[in-house]
Symmetry: C3
Subunit: 272 residues, 3 copies
Amino acid sequence: MVVRTSSSPSTPASAPEVAPARALERLREASPLTQCITNAVVTNFTANALLALGAAPAMCDIPDEAGMFAGIAGGVLVNLGTPTSEQRDAAREAVAVGTPWVLDPVAVGALPVRTALAHELLEARPAIIRGNASEILALAGAGAGGRGVDATDASEDALDAARSLATRTGGTVAVSGETDLIVDATRTARVPGGSALLTKVTGGGCALGAAMAAFAAIAEPFDAALAASAVWAVASERAASGSRGPGSFAVAFLDELAAIQPADLEGRAELA
Amino acid sequence: MVVRTSSSPSTPASAPEVAPARALERLREASPLTQCITNAVVTNFTANALLALGAAPAMCDIPDEAGMFAGIAGGVLVNLGTPTSEQRDAAREAVAVGTPWVLDPVAVGALPVRTALAHELLEARPAIIRGNASEILALAGAGAGGRGVDATDASEDALDAARSLATRTGGTVAVSGETDLIVDATRTARVPGGSALLTKVTGGGCALGAAMAAFAAIAEPFDAALAASAVWAVASERAASGSRGPGSFAVAFLDELAAIQPADLEGRAELA
Amino acid sequence: MVVRTSSSPSTPASAPEVAPARALERLREASPLTQCITNAVVTNFTANALLALGAAPAMCDIPDEAGMFAGIAGGVLVNLGTPTSEQRDAAREAVAVGTPWVLDPVAVGALPVRTALAHELLEARPAIIRGNASEILALAGAGAGGRGVDATDASEDALDAARSLATRTGGTVAVSGETDLIVDATRTARVPGGSALLTKVTGGGCALGAAMAAFAAIAEPFDAALAASAVWAVASERAASGSRGPGSFAVAFLDELAAIQPADLEGRAELA
């Protein structure tokens, strides 16, 4: 797992302001309150992943509470996986507050309710958008969306779409795949590595979006997305090495999230 | 674990069209998109079980999306465990589409909202109905339902009720228990074996219903139900052998679902 | 882990009517039907914890069913972690029935919807209120609530608030923390021990509330709360001893809940 950061043609290469190792230190010191408005499938795994990482998750997702809670949270995740009517209203409240927030547009493109909501929420400028290539392409208007939650495109195919979205929101866009892409208006980082077993556990990507929201409480969006992706890559590789299958992998992944140390991320971040 | 298929008195004994081993091969090749409208308790375990098995789960369960999604899914599960108002409408949409679908009438009989919905949905002719004996008896009008999700009847007691339901829907009825019964209008198969630890993990049966929906995407309903039951029996036996209790069993069960090979099912399917 | 029971100044010290060991025996014999109206994050872990313990969980949480179900359940949990509109109505139905019920006022104080509901539900006199110190202080009107689900106060700081609530409801109040406090109008017990890893698994405390509801089906509220806390302390200590982190701890905890025997609780309950 090597993190490479390359500049876009028009800008010089630059390191992240806060490297992943330092971001992890900060996160563990601050234990940022991280609000998750997320889907019913992954809410347990997401909360456990945040706890293991060192953040303080709170799944506050009902109207008349979500906005107020976003005011005290350090970061907010809005994941559109199972967007009930109440969650949609809660999301609208939460993103209006001004706390850095992450949009995870699960299965956007193919399905009308979440697609309309995702476009509406974009106006509130997510600090980070995290999705697979099909979702990013669809959100940028450049693709039809994947097969539900499955990406049918490679992350590199979504580079232009990610840049376009990032320019529009003024934020960062993270495209998850065999190699993760982290893009803002001018910079591009790639995080290869990680384990394919993460795609065999529901919520591997959704929890990554939540981790980005936690890191966004203590670092700039680009650095937050990079740190979360680096942690995911290292922890998933380690978890995979001792696992017998997806069940034991998911358990080991939580153990590794808790065990990972800033130094484990040090040598792995390289600029291109 | 031996799968025995016996004819009803009026028909000759016959093998399944697609034996469990071949069905598992097909499922792994096709990775069928499997839509689950299921209860909040088991949605995570269900998605992980489908992923481990080789299917592609999608928990699309809100109105104005569920019907559209059912049109691209290969199989659909409707599980009535925690049927919110939005899930009830989503279920109505999804079953109207014509994609093979599985009804899991959790705790039907005792509770009025789900009981009314189950009877309404029956009109849309589920390809497979999966429940415990108490639920099948209640759905067929022959019993009062169990104690919530617990069966208070043995699966064999529900044979006539299962036949009656299968005749009425033109589909297959699977009665889960110490020995699973798989029944259509003329055929009966029994799948003994498996591990009682499955009853100590929430969602063991619910995820079996989801697996039947996945298999229904690539095989006829009777064969789909048989294949899913056979996989469950083998995987649960193997998982039990190395487990210390229900926690480690659930983890091992997911590992075994991923590890199971078609040949593991071969010698275990016998016709009576 | 030693359970110490001390009298309040005005009453003589007294043993619980039913000691934890005997309560666990009774629970295993009766397998009480335990209805949980609980949050989406922990519903799976809660059901699995109850199954492992020997109870029969049922997550019946929709209007027009929840009240009816409470009539056949032995104990009811109302946990306010993610209180959707339908769950709020379901809770109102369920607590009106008269079955012993447990209130878990998650994050009460800080958030208006659940705070209003908690105060409304108090009128129906919960047999047991279980929360962390911040929640108990806030519910008693003596504090502002914690940081979402995190306690920012020590359990001992909530002793007076707990006594005040217990006096008002005529029931028992359990304050979870490094040492658990169990309080009714006149008695106080303390359950030290347990593992801090429980705070790194989402739902550790929520599932404890569910266990109290299960025990309340077969013992008086004070004894039920004491038994559940003692079981949690023993099982979490044992689970922690062989765990590599929070993921493997959660799995081991379920295994230990299933393995724990009444005798394991015997020497640990001492009166002060």
